[in-house]
Symmetry: D4
Subunit: 241 residues, 8 copies
């Protein structure tokens, strides 16, 4: 394909103007996953309108961090939608995907569960088989070692941790799989809202660890899904039918 | 496997005491890749001693950021070693691996080349097929669009950028593959040694992007290799022979 | 003009003491635009009193970030005033200006709209013709490329973006006009309330980009107007009549 | 023009592969100014090679922050090139442009002169008429007031200041022209390498001030030129002949 | 006086244990001013109890940043106390002092008035004659120049400013008196709650400027009083009678 | 003990899965103190369930920073539990320990009392004899010197201070015992929520001072107890009976 | 005096253009002290030229932080000049002033001596009588208490401290005089080049402390002189004769 | 003891004026350990003079971070002094102490050895028995588990780590002894010279961990010694004989 052809493919891509938003319907073709809706800063009616258009087109809508009002409005408009309580994620889909591979989501403490849930629901919604291991922080190593077989069987491991963010380094030393680290804002004082574990994870002594933004369970689940299915998401081909 | 069995496997692992260092020979078994040597802060004689022991055991040694004296000493001791000039990485290996898959390393400017080289050499040394695209920053988009076919063919894309670090977001919007972003320290003033692109990459509007530390080409190449080969590194099984 | 004459011109300038405020009525003469009122931290009665004096003198009042109570009081006192809902800006003017030139205000996401509106209303109130393009973030480049003709026709482009703040660099690579970049606080975690896009914009690889404070749509609209009309604001000469 | 046509125009743009660099020859067409070369991090031979290709194509080369070795090599290769001592900028051009408009570059102290020179040389090289006023910091206001006529005659004012960076606010209160503020790293202690004046300028109480990165005289001069000539640079049309 | 005698004087100093507080009654002897009460974090009953004991002993109580409940309780317990509305400072004193010298408190904008009031009330309560000049920010220099005679007549000038904090530098260039600069938290975005003007004031190009913490009107008024009266506070000798 | 035996001991350790939590019952054996419950981010029912299980197993539960609802639920479920009002710590224990040694908790101001209480209650609950000295900040040295005998008699001193955090340095110069410094968030402006005293304490000129996180009274009390009893906590052996 | 007259006085003030510098000869009239020369960033010939002009006009020149080459050139040009070794300050004066009042400069450690010397020499050069007390950090309080009589006799105290910067708080609690605190860069790690003591001093619990920039002995000495002589500097009237 | 008696004891304490230094000879009486000399910023002759006086008085001198010239001068002046190469610490002592207790110094990587040595030498010089375990970072847990018996036998554990600083949390979960964590500056990029592990250690999920400044092996060794010997240092009583 020549550059001109590539550029043409980009420029002729379908999009839809809603006035307050420009929906990128070509995204699913281009990247394998339809546009995801970031809840904060959108009115209730905006949310429902955007979700309706995306659902009609792709059969799959993921809304992250929906406010209580926003998710109630979505549930009224789409009675078959599902809201996950800890993380506030809302999922609409026309049909369930056949789950593939194996993503393991590990978290250090119970306070990290909302972020872990966001990661797990995202990866599963996109078509990955997901398992979770919770509350296995490094101050009690045997809790993690007890799950060593599950660590070994995953294709990719998402590790969610607040406080000092040490868990990804320990996990990274145990497995031969990609590890995606998610710092959380769980902590206080010199934690600076997640800066402490973020810096820790970026400086990990275990090689091969990559990091996402503080509390970005969605981003970690999305990346983990891409790794798990070998890049190309089945979600792209399935829900179109 | 019970927790006790898992823990036993860990604790009985072979290691070697050099006095100033504790070599983790079991690492290759556990994670698929032997220990890598971080050059800074090690004396010339330490470097050669460590490299000798690791080479004898694993047939593969990777030394990153070797000083000129350090790499000269390594090249004298191991005449078949190879030093890469831009990045200062030194590689010793008993046999070449058959390269698999496809990792694409993209960089925004020519000043980012040392970091891009570190990523490319790391991934290739571990057994991945690697291609590079250079100097395609976002201020001249057509330079990137010209390589769209190569972007599509890679299993994972490493994107290296300094200054504002915008390139990973643009690449992430074009491909359906995992994107690993590497901020570099190329910049000045309010760049704060790489903080600016690091924050940009962590806040990317394109989902699925994961990030490594500033200038950490090694970490990005390592992670990209794990993603490329589906987790388990062939390096583990090959060089043992 | 000698320094002494210049200084005399400054020192004899008209001002008006309100006790809690010192109104700079000479400002319109000196800079072409009357004083603008920053809403936060002023009581309702202060706001109305200041607006009354400025209106009487200049025929044009711009109040930014008015609180709900503040803008209601202004609307009661000046029934012909107009409040813009997203940005909270309130405008009073005796007569409409004939709009000149062309300012284009581009924003990356729907959450950036309040800041974009503040920029657009400011520039238009001062006498510039303004157009807006919304929700064209860099993760879907075709949405921006579709507006290339409008980019080319503007005399100055204001680019509003949160998250990683990459959009100004891409726009700056496409046009031969001054680009004014506005970072927004849209984001979370390592976004640090707009620090991430602020740093990105200050380090842009596209030359000619200048930057204003986080969420400072007013400042960007004001500067864009000055650029658009060749410096001197028509607002100065018109509303005096 | 349709999006597809726009994208085609982008993708068919001429570029030139030098292996270590991808020259964007279309840049002059697209933005009115050819690519500018950032000196740091490039080898002497790279610099000369890049400058040769750009010169052959555009007849105009601007190299910023060239090292002593780099600029000597450039001067050997291009005997008619000119190096400016304070700022280290090197200029090659086939023919002098006819200078237009008026850009005023003001600096607060003698230590800010290198940055002021970079701004002035950049704007003049691109085709703007430039004047300079130096050492007029706010602790001795009469030094600035003595130049009030020149402030009034400029189409755009670049204000360069280190320490507390107060000068742009004072200038912004005196003129009805766009003011571009450049913080410098002149200072110590809690100056943090230019952070103090950068923050001051971003928070200026005088509206219409836009800001560039610390010590970025080049960026300020480039933006000032675009404003001065009404956006489109004459440099684009002239040196092609 | 020998060290031992000095230490004895310290150690035998009177203090009073309230259980939750250790009142330093010797402070007035040692430093010329009785202990001042910082309101935040103290319960209503604590506030009243502490004020009662200090009043009985020193005849002078200053409570800063009292909460609405706290100051109401104080006003009920001490009907002759006075609360200043903008700053929340509460003053109890047995007798008015004869005011001495002259402290000038200048502020840049109306939003800085609460901090300016805290400074003015503190200095006056301790026995200084105080004048105020308000809303004379540097974007309209003539407003400040109109007060030049008052600047010249003061023994010490307190300058309160938010946003970029440029006013102290301009004042410092006009007077031959000590200037005490107070940054305020008035601003947004890259203001970081007062960090921007704090850094600006610490880096002022006008010599002789000293700085206090953000919003610390009390500290500035206290220091200004000490400077104004030549160090030793008359408050110490007067209210004892 | 061989590594394998050590690892077995770790891996066979008892733990209890509550679904949302993994209780580390072996902790008391391993470290001498049972798991402590960090209140924030846990639901009321979670808190009660976790406390019940830990109490049944260890006879000692410490819940820090319980919300009002959380501590009420705990008090309903365990009528003999005790809640400390200032710090919000809740303690359940089957039997009182015989207190040993001597820990002195010193605080600089009354606003630091909540953190000092958290430290004192923690150390006492674990089995240390604790004394407190309050409101002895460095601006009135004689208040501290009056307690010099108690400083000398303690085995370890916890020093709690906000504002500039100078007290640990002064105490550290007076005693020959370990000093544990706790910065608090008491302050404003350039205090940055405790960063100022944290940095001060880390840079203390008095040797032997160690530091915990901002407001971390619990951590300081825990460490002080370990030092006081010579490492091994009696709590471990007592409540098992 | 009317505003117009004030402005005229400013604008007619004498100044001298050196091309690279604009000397503010009116400064001595306006503020009581002639311009001071900040050494860094000026060439040797610039330094000598500026010093010559200032000396001819005012009979007093103070150059701070002169480089070794710069101060040698000054000493060659002005054989009667004096260079102070620790601080690098160079002083030229036509006649010695009669010293007045009393400034006490206290420093915490021997490493702080260069900054203390800069403060002491500045104040003395301007006409203040200065005493120094050195190496009396808070970890050994008796060293400071031994000098209590000198603390009491000073009109103003400059306190210089690195590390945690606690000394000003202790001094401020002992005296009834203005205290000017100077943080130094003496420290390492989490000292961040003086940030730790700077923050500590800004947050001091002792009221009346004002602060200057890190290592700014000059500014502290200048301000102390103004306080010591009651504002107006004798230096202004003396050396003119 | 009354406060007055306590204060007298402080004020009559012996000290020695060296002009540039005030030696605190009473320190050994007051705190059990003589003054320690911080090498940086002291001239060679200062170092020797201070060491001579301290040695004569206390029979024990510890100089940290001596420059090569400084330590050579010390070794010439005191031929029996000992210099430790990695850390640059120099020790002079009249007689060896009988070592007591057991301090364990653990470090994560070979690059952390200089800091670990500083801690070990400090504690041993003061009279503690010290053991070291090196290069046992968390990415290879079995290396640490192999030393579990030694961890259990120590009275206090010093843990030195750079990069992400995770090791103290893992050690803290394994032992029932006080753990003193030392972050090091080993790392790059978003490590910020040790900030990353410093924050991690302050936020550790393992209770009882206290922290010292970056690279402050001396402080950690000093504190560990105080803990190890139960507070009072034998060094105080021994070397006086």
């Amino acid at each position: 394909m020549t550059p001109a052809a590539a550029a043409r493919a980009i420029a002729d891509a379908p999009m839809e103007q809603l006035g307050f938003a420009t929906l990128d319907h070509q995204r699913a073709l281009r990247t394998g996953v339809p546009e995801v809706v970031f809840g904060p800063g959108k009115t209730t009616s905006d949310l429902v309108a955007i979700a309706s258009r995306l659902y009609a087109r792709n059969g799959l809508v993921l809304v992250t961090r929906a406010s209580p009002e926003g998710s109630e409005a979505l549930l009224r408009a789409f009675p078959h939608a599902r809201r996950y309580e800890r993380s506030g994620i809302v999922v609409l889909r026309r049909r369930r995907l056949r789950l593939r591979g194996r993503v393991l989501v590990v978290c250090a403490g119970t306070s990290d569960l909302p972020v872990a849930e966001e990661a797990a629901v995202t990866a599963e919604t996109l078509g990955s088989r997901v398992e979770q291991v919770s509350d296995v922080g490094v101050a009690g190593l045997h809790r993690l070692l007890a799950h060593r077989a599950r660590l070994r069987d995953a294709r990719v491991v998402v590790v969610v941790a607040g406080l000092e963010g040490a868990l990804p380094s320990v996990v990274g030393g145990l497995v031969d799989r990609p590890v995606i680290a998610v710092p959380t804002s769980v902590g206080y004082g010199a934690h600076f809202g997640g800066l402490a574990p973020l810096l820790a994870m970026l400086n990990s002594c275990a090689p091969g660890i990559t990091v996402v933004n503080v509390n970005n369970g969605f981003g970690a689940g999305y990346a983990a899904h891409l790794v798990n299915v070998g890049g190309r998401a089945p979600a792209r081909r399935k829900p179109k039918g």
